[in-house]
């Protein structure tokens, strides 16, 4: 097998080859049938048990509002609600959530009315490129019903914004909190 990808060193080349070998081993023998309740709607799906909740949402259901950033639970862009609690959808398998209520950014608005956090993000201009925004908003929306909310920077530390829009994100969360109370 020849590799046309430019590889800077032997180790990197080995790494690429290993990835290719592993990719070739994929045989979907274990397709599972499952039902997921997403944004109040039941979805009957078929997938390999390896599919994360994040990939199920994006690739199987077509809800691409939830974003894939690091895929290792470090950036928070994949944040969704499961039974009302915010979680990283990249670090859980879809098959583990057949009895759960899943809410994504697409399901946050109600009756055509934006969620207070969504409105606050717009008013405070709490984003630049917008890639982390669905995760930020889902995280902040869950925060509103958590026990302690005074330290927003600490409570939102699981959501990274590489543009550095933090001051406006904090302002937006404060605004949403103020309107709620």
């Amino acid at each position: 097998m020849t590799c046309n990808v430019p590889v800077p060193c032997r180790v990197e080349r080995q790494r690429v080859l290993n990835d290719v070998r592993q990719a070739l081993q994929f045989t979907y023998t274990d397709v599972m049938q499952l039902t997921l309740n997403i944004n109040g709607r039941e979805h009957r799906l078929e997938m390999d048990p390896r599919v994360t909740l994040l990939d199920a949402l994006r690739e199987h259901v077509g809800l691409t509002g939830t974003k894939k950033g690091c895929d290792h639970g470090q950036c928070g862009s994949c944040t969704v609600h499961v039974n009302g609690r915010r979680i990283n959808s990249c670090l859980t398998f879809a098959v583990m959530h057949q009895h759960d209520e899943i809410t994504t950014i697409e399901g946050l608005a109600e009756n055509g009315q934006l969620h207070p956090v969504q409105e606050a993000f717009i008013e405070c201009d709490a984003f630049q490129c917008g890639y982390c925004t669905p995760g930020q908003i889902m995280s902040a929306a869950a925060l509103l019903s958590e026990p302690v909310q005074h330290d927003i920077r600490e409570a939102m530390s699981g959501n990274i914004c590489r543009c550095g829009a933090y001051p406006n994100i904090v302002a937006a969360v404060q605004l949403a909190q103020a309107r709620r109370s």
Partner: protein
């Protein structure tokens, strides 16, 4: 990610049966550690037994007025539980010092006990690591080891145990309750995690076919005060460089009883008996805190880039002691 078979267990018997009948099986609870490592090809289970539906999430007061926390209780639920906050604030504080809000909502108490190290070389299958691949060597010895352990190390492994919660549990003398095919047994937290010696791949006292069902906390002393101080590279959402948990009882400025445990500096949650010994019966003042700090770092084994942990640990302990006793340093 490699293929695996998925089974959801509905009761404990089914869970332990599933795990013992098929080699290469693993339990999955919160999944935050396991799935991360499966994506890196570090963990390669052939079967996952999902224990999320097992009824072990309760937090209840037991007969002796201690607390029993079910293994499936999420870290956030434990941290915000009124009984935990009132009687074991140290546990709540340590949990809230770890990970992010999202991860705490997923991660379970049992999974936190089973957390794997964050050593870069353990997490990279293209490097040598005696923990991941016994006998292959330790790339950290000559590589990046600024975050590595100074206590409980061996020539085979000096990777740190990453948990904050476990540090508090050691301080609180918790007992881990596990269940296997032959019944239930109780393991004191200090015996639960193993030192690496020449078998760094063996990390806990848990047998392959056993499942953690809960932890028990002894009744708290009404007079004790506690503190968890964590020092890290970022203000939030980062593993400890060093952390200190202190549980202390004082009367008239004298230290009647004290328990001290450290995180981020050892291969397992590290109880510091030498520091405790110095402090017991001593006056709670700066001189005693300094002596305790010196005693705590005695015997530390240092590598090229983690020498700073000695001074950092001393200062962290002294600060924690001063804060918890209300004494000026």
């Amino acid at each position: 990610m490699r293929q695996f078979e998925y089974t959801a267990a509905t009761d404990i018997r089914g869970a332990t049966q599933a795990i013992s009948t098929k080699p290469g099986s693993a339990f999955i609870a919160g999944g935050t550690g396991l799935i991360d490592l499966m994506k890196l090809d570090v963990e390669t289970p052939q079967q996952l037994v999902d224990i999320n539906r097992l009824p072990f999430a309760e937090i209840t007061e037991n007969a002796n007025h201690g607390l029993r926390i079910g293994a499936m209780a999420r870290n956030s639920v434990v941290a915000w539980n009124p009984l935990v906050r009132e009687r074991y604030p140290l546990l709540s504080e340590s949990l809230l010092a770890g990970a992010s809000a999202q991860l705490r909502n997923m991660a379970t108490v049992g999974g936190n006990l089973m957390q794997r190290t964050r050593c870069t070389y353990f997490r990279d299958v293209h490097e040598t690591c005696n923990k991941r691949s016994p006998g292959s060597g330790c790339a950290a010895a000559e590589g990046h080891h600024r975050t590595h352990a100074i206590f409980g190390t061996s020539e085979h492994c000096f990777a740190t145990h990453p948990s904050d919660m476990c540090v508090a549990l050691v301080c609180l003398s918790a007992v881990v309750e596990v269940q296997g095919p032959s019944g239930m047994r109780r393991i004191p937290i200090e015996d639960f995690h193993k030192l690496p010696h020449d078998t760094p791949q063996i990390e806990t006292a848990l047998a392959r076919d056993e499942v953690i069902t809960g932890i028990e906390l002894p009744p708290p002393s009404g007079k004790s005060r506690s503190i968890y101080r964590k020092v890290r590279d970022r203000a939030s959402y980062e593993f400890a460089l060093v952390s200190a948990a202190v549980l202390i009882e004082t009367s008239a400025g004298m230290i009647d009883d004290v328990r001290i445990a450290f995180g981020g500096v050892a291969t397992k949650p590290w109880r510091s008996a030498p520091a405790e010994k110095v402090l017991k019966g001593a006056r709670a003042d700066e001189a005693a805190f300094r002596s305790a700090a010196e005693a705590a770092v005695n015997g530390a084994l240092l590598h090229r880039d983690n020498k700073f942990k000695v001074e950092l640990l001393k200062r962290t302990l002294m600060l924690a002691l001063a804060e918890v006793t209300g004494e000026q340093r």
